[in-house]
């Protein structure tokens, strides 16, 4: 079986994604979970590059690995969470979770297998992932959702600040 370079890249990236994703779940220390999640996100960014979605790969690295994960790491270090503060899970609960998760997986894969084969048009232009194409679509067809997302960000910012600050009765 001869593998092309692209297939080798796909398998290596998939292996990194799945292994580090499993380590996110099963590592005891929350800081290690965050670091493994960053590895997962970088592998997914590699998948985006393989799929010719260069702009999304860049945004993914900037937003997820850059902003969201720093936020997670900051909160974990501020709350000083480590292995000793980790909540204990009962053994039967872990057992039930693993069984439920492992039965969910074949369900999804089986649903994929039994679904009708999608007739794919042969992809012609491979530059749909570039900033120029995406920007044209974003600012013409999807202009209203784009403006609405700014309202979402404003409300999220107000909510985060309100929730995060100490109440005035507490400080007085």
């Amino acid at each position: 079986m001869n593998l092309t370079l692209t297939e080798i890249l796909f398998f290596v990236l998939s292996a990194i994604t799945i292994i580090s994703g499993a380590l996110v779940i099963f590592s005891r220390n929350p800081v290690y979970s965050v670091l493994y999640l960053i590895v997962t996100f970088f592998a997914i960014a590699g998948h985006y590059i393989l799929l010719n979605a260069q702009f999304l790969a860049a945004v993914h690295v900037i937003v997820y690995a850059g902003a969201i994960m720093v936020l997670f790491l900051f909160v974990i270090m501020m709350l000083n969470l480590n292995e000793t503060t980790e909540p204990k899970t009962a053994l039967w609960s872990k057992f039930a979770a693993v069984i439920a998760g492992l039965t969910f997986l074949p369900l999804l894969v089986g649903a994929l297998k039994t679904s009708e084969a999608v007739v794919m048009t042969q992809p012609q232009n491979s530059d749909i992932g570039l900033v120029k194409t995406l920007g044209q679509v974003l600012f013409t067809d999807y202009l209203v959702p784009f403006e609405l997302s700014s309202v979402l960000f404003l409300s999220a910012m107000v909510g985060a600040v309100l929730l995060g600050k100490k109440s005035t009765e507490e400080t007085n």
């Binding site: 092309t4 692209t6 297939e7 890249l9 796909f10 998939s14 799945i18 996110v24 779940i25 929350p30 979970s33 965050v34 999640l37 997962t40 997914i44 998948h47 985006y48 393989l50 799929l51 010719n52 979605a53 999304l56 945004v59 937003v63 997820y64 902003a67 969201i68 936020l71 997670f72 909160v75 709350l79 969470l81 503060t85 980790e86 909540p87 204990k88 979770a97 439920a100 998760g101 492992l102 997986l105 999804l108 994929l112 992809p123 491979s126 749909i128 992932g129 995406l134 679509v137 974003l138 067809d141 999807y142 959702p145 979402l152 960000f153 999220a156 909510g159 985060a160 929730l163 995060g164």
Partner: protein, 105 residues
Amino acid sequence: MSAIQIIPIEWYLTLSAILFGMGALGVMYRKNAIILLMCIEMMLNAVNLSLVAFSAHHSDPGAQVFVFFIMAVAAAEVAVGLAILIMLYRNTGTTDVEVLNRMKW
């Protein structure tokens, strides 16, 4: 030669399903609320990956714009979720979701 001509879309969908299943397993397996948020991020990423695969195979940039919006919503969700977590930690001194069982009654 790019990946969309070589790698069938079923492989990407299977990888996405595995990633989503692992995120769901993590939500059931862990009790730390921060790890639960991280597992939700993993499930969102699985959906994003399948959307990008569909977009590349259909030569349709609409799905990639959709992924862009999902990332924006995820960022807002994490900001609010972590603020709620900090408030929870300030009130209860732990991030264990089992403490939050008072809404059952």
